[in-house]
């Protein structure tokens, strides 16, 4: 009888769904600043009581992991998966603060060049070998010897020494301001040197051996990663869950369907247009959090007229960022940027908006046209496109991808349309991911693009990475990631100062001045900042979402009664 009632209710929900599906388009257009759930549990959900032990958390990722070895894998899907089994010296929390983890305390030398860490006692790897200073020193020194992917985060590191059983020191050439932030990066986790030496790097691509609360049990490439509770975990009374199963579900509709059907307990990367419907379902908790990933269009400064700052600034004013957030991201999947490159919550962030404006380079068509006129481009013949004195129009190519980041192809189309409004002709060239990489990894003499749509995510929530890699004149492609071939003496000077500055207040000032330069020079078109989405069934508690694109659920717990009440049976 109860079963039949549930089914009837389901059928009614189906009717409502179909109605809402039909109405979805109008909702998307109308919803403006729709309230989004914050991280704290709302009053409509059962109040979290004491954590319960037991249960299995089934969780979905959107893409393939390829390799589970931290030294060779920069992809965020794999990193999110291995964080159940591997840990680092320090970690970053929701407020983007550094907290002690495998290291309990640290201090810097007088000259700022050495950092000494006290390691936690009583920790061991999953293979039984002890976690100690030797292990830590080996992992970092090996990273340099073998040029692991994240080695650039420890630039200037000469050596790591094991001073005693539980004390390590990092020796740098020069003081390195971002050391702690970078050590919290999920690539810089400590794996078992014994396992690495015994089985080799290749074996580590499919085997996780760390100090974390869960131990790898089974891996099927492209499908699932199963982990079981580590009974010898160093934190007393944790973890709560017996098992964690990470599934790979590439299709976004399938992910939300599985969440609604109870086949998944939690999933990342939901469709922004599905969010209002899912939020109305009281069995599901939706969290939307601003990320540290900002979209931008890299402008090739070797191509005229993109070498003229006035033209670049005009392009910035010509883009309606509010329009992009509404139409591509349903108003909630992205937010207006408050500063160039950096988002709120990143270390040394300053709000760079002009008073009264909702974003940097607030949409202003008139100003865009004026700037273009000042640069010598006007519409002489009334055909809708602007030309210079010799009659040559501005015609540019924009390289973009489809689906590499949520909404990228649509943003490209909008940028094309908006620039057409000021009389600039833009042609979009879509590339498949791998080919895109090759096409945008060329030096100034070989690069074929005028503009490239990209996004810059900061996994350490520290400005050092974008300063050193994006706007630095020594970081031109293919050496770094400066695809604009932008060079400014002042930006270089500020970058080096901030890189070595250990006083937080002074560093914040260098970073602020750097952003002032970026607003003046407008080396790129600054676009909105992406938001991250996480959908969780309401019987799961204490799982988290961080703005650095991390979704830890190591210490989550499941309310078994609530799960049964919702009819989820496994």
């Amino acid at each position: 009888m109860q079963d039949a009632c549930l089914r009837l209710r389901s059928l009614w929900r189906l009717v409502l769904h179909i109605r809402s599906l039909l109405a979805a388009s109008s909702i998307a257009l109308v919803s403006c600043g729709a309230p989004v759930s914050k991280d704290a549990p709302s009053s409509t959900h059962p109040i979290a009581s004491e954590p319960q032990y037991g249960g299995e958390l089934i969780y979905a990722l959107s893409g393939e992991t390829y390799s589970l070895f931290p030294g060779r894998q920069p992809g965020s899907n794999a990193q999110d998966a291995w964080l159940y089994a591997l840990e680092g010296l320090v970690e970053i929390n929701e407020s983007n603060e550094i907290v002690p983890w495998l290291a309990t305390s640290w201090e810097f030398s007088e000259d700022g060049r050495n950092a000494t860490f006290q390691l936690r006692e009583g920790v061991s790897f999953h293979d039984g070998t002890p976690f100690d200073a030797e292990a830590v020193a080996f992992v970092f020194n090996e990273a340099f010897d073998k040029q692991f992917v994240h080695v650039h985060m420890l630039e200037g590191l000469q050596q790591v020494t094991a001073d005693s059983e539980l004390v390590v020191t990092f020796h740098f050439e020069e003081p390195f301001a971002a050391l702690l932030s970078n050590l919290s990066h999920r690539s810089l986790v400590i794996f078992s040197p014994t396992a690495y030496r015994e089985h080799g790097e290749e074996w580590m691509a499919t085997h996780l051996v760390g100090t974390g609360p869960f131990i790898q049990e089974r891996l099927v490439r492209g499908e699932v990663l199963e982990l079981v509770k580590n009974d010898d975990y160093w934190q007393e009374g944790k973890p709560y869950l017996d098992r964690v199963t990470v599934r790979i579900v590439p299709e976004v509709s399938a992910r939300s369907a599985m969440l609604e059907a109870g086949e998944l307990d939690r999933t990342i990367a939901l469709n922004d247009f599905d969010i209002p419907r899912l939020e109305a379902d009281d069995r599901i908790r939706i969290r939307v959090v601003p990320s540290t990933r900002q979209f931008y269009v890299a402008l090739n400064h070797t191509v005229a007229p993109l070498d003229d700052p006035k033209v670049r600034q005009a392009f910035n004013y010509a883009i309606d960022k509010v329009g992009i957030v509404q139409s591509v991201f349903a108003g909630t999947g992205a937010l207006l940027s408050k500063a160039p490159v950096l988002s709120e919550g990143v270390v040394a962030f300053t709000d760079m908006r002009r008073p009264g404006e909702e974003t940097i380079f607030a949409y202003d068509l008139e100003r865009a046209r004026t700037l273009l006129a000042e640069a010598g481009f006007v519409d002489n013949d009334g055909d809708g496109t602007i030309e210079d004195a010799s009659g040559a129009a501005i015609s540019l190519t924009l390289f973009a991808r489809r689906g590499a980041t949520k909404g990228d192809d649509k943003i490209a189309q909008l940028v094309q349309n908006m620039l057409a409004e000021v009389g600039v002709d833009v042609e979009i060239r879509y590339w498949e991911s791998s080919a895109f990489g090759a096409a945008t990894n060329l030096g100034p003499d070989d690069a074929q693009y005028d503009m490239v749509l990209l996004s810059w995510g900061i996994p350490t929530a520290d400005p050092d990475e974008p300063m050193m890699m994006m706007t630095y004149s020594k970081a031109w492609k293919p050496i770094g990631a400066n695809r604009m071939f932008y060079a400014s003496d002042e930006v270089d000077r500020l970058t080096v100062l901030a890189h070595h500055e250990v006083d937080p207040a002074q560093r914040k000032e260098w970073v602020r001045l750097w952003m002032v330069e970026l607003l003046d020079d407008a080396p790129v078109i600054f676009l909105p900042t992406l938001s991250l989405t996480l959908g969780t069934r309401s019987y799961v508690h204490d799982d988290r979402i961080l703005s650095i694109d991390q979704y830890p659920a190591r210490f989550a717990w499941i309310d078994a009664q609530e799960m049964a009440r919702q009819g989820v049976v496994r």
Partner: protein, 308 residues
């Protein structure tokens, strides 16, 4: 017949080598660097070089080619570029999964299309015929992802009768098989109908009816058997297509199949996996074609593969 089989089996070897060589050349001609893909957008040149060295992408082409070919002839399909797992252990389970999906959906499609197609032909030009033709047309026009997503939302999310995806039990087969099978059935139904109409119009059918045989015997024993050849051809092609990668179905239903793996390996430039998958798929396809040809001879003894 035996000669045919032996020749076809032997043909698989040069075909396989040719395919592998062609793929190798193709992969190195198209733009795209797996090291760059792995390193990400914002990596420095040093990091990319490090990856290149670690994964062996920097060896000369000739060396890579001969290493690969010599391994393949010994039955070793190499290891995945990224996870270093043996290609055969990655690809074979996936082929089995896709083969199951293909087999069941084509079986479903065959039964449905034969039933509908024969009915349609028997009641040619009546209301029944028109209804069935309309349904078939609707089936052909509805893409798999539309019918698949609808099916998921109705049967999995709302009614909770079936799983949304994956491959856990017999229940996981129902939706993907029906979704994919329905599409194939729609295509086949029209062919069956046309073939049957053609066969039913032949003189020997009149004779059979004149002899007093029941309509059932006339249709199923005599007409169908003669109409089977073109139907079988389409069936073989349909089986090949569903085997090769019903990528859309596999993505919608998160089916751990070959299609998805091939697409992912191509996009990530994981050459060993792509080559291994395509090689095994090619062998399967040749085998299916061989089976279809052998079936031809069984059904119609007039068909001969001997040179005249």
């Amino acid at each position: 017949m035996l000669r045919l089989i032996v020749v076809r089996v032997l043909f698989m070897i040069p075909a396989g080598l040719l395919l592998v060589s062609f793929l190798f050349g193709l992969f190195h001609l198209i733009p795209g660097d797996p090291a760059l893909l792995l390193a990400g957008d914002n990596a420095s040149a040093e990091v990319v070089e490090g990856i290149r060295r670690a994964y062996g992408f920097d060896q000369s082409l000739t060396v890579q080619y001969w290493t690969y070919i010599s391994k393949v002839v010994q039955g070793d399909l190499g290891v995945s570029n990224f996870s270093r797992e043996p290609v055969s252990s990655l690809v074979i389970p996936r082929i089995v999964n896709t083969a199951q999906l293909a087999f069941w959906s084509m079986g479903f499609a065959m039964i449905v299309s034969l039933a509908l197609g024969c009915t349609s032909a028997m009641y040619w030009n009546t209301k029944i015929d028109k209804i069935i033709t309309a349904i078939a047309l609707l089936g052909i026009c509805t893409p798999v992802f539309v019918s698949g997503l609808f099916a998921i939302f109705i049967f999995s999310v709302e009614l909770r009768l079936l799983p949304t995806g994956g491959l856990d039990s017999w229940r996981s087969f129902v939706l993907p098989v029906i979704t994919l099978g329905a599409f194939q059935a729609a295509v086949l139904t029209r062919m069956v109908r046309a073939s049957m109409v053609d066969a039913l119009g032949q003189d020997y059918i009149e004779t059979a009816r004149a002899k007093g045989l029941s309509e059932q015997t006339v249709v199923f024993k005599h007409a169908l058997r003669n109409a089977l050849l073109p139907i079988l051809t389409l069936f073989g092609l349909g089986l090949g297509a569903t085997l090769g990668g019903s990528v859309v179905t596999e993505t919608i239903f998160t089916w751990p199949g070959l299609g998805r793996m091939m697409v992912e390996s191509i996009l990530s430039r994981d050459l060993p996996v792509t080559q291994g998958a395509l090689l095994l798929f090619a062998f399967m396809f040749i085998t299916i074609n061989l089976a279809v040809d052998v079936l031809y001879q069984t059904i119609d003894p007039r068909v001969s593969y001997e040179p005249r």
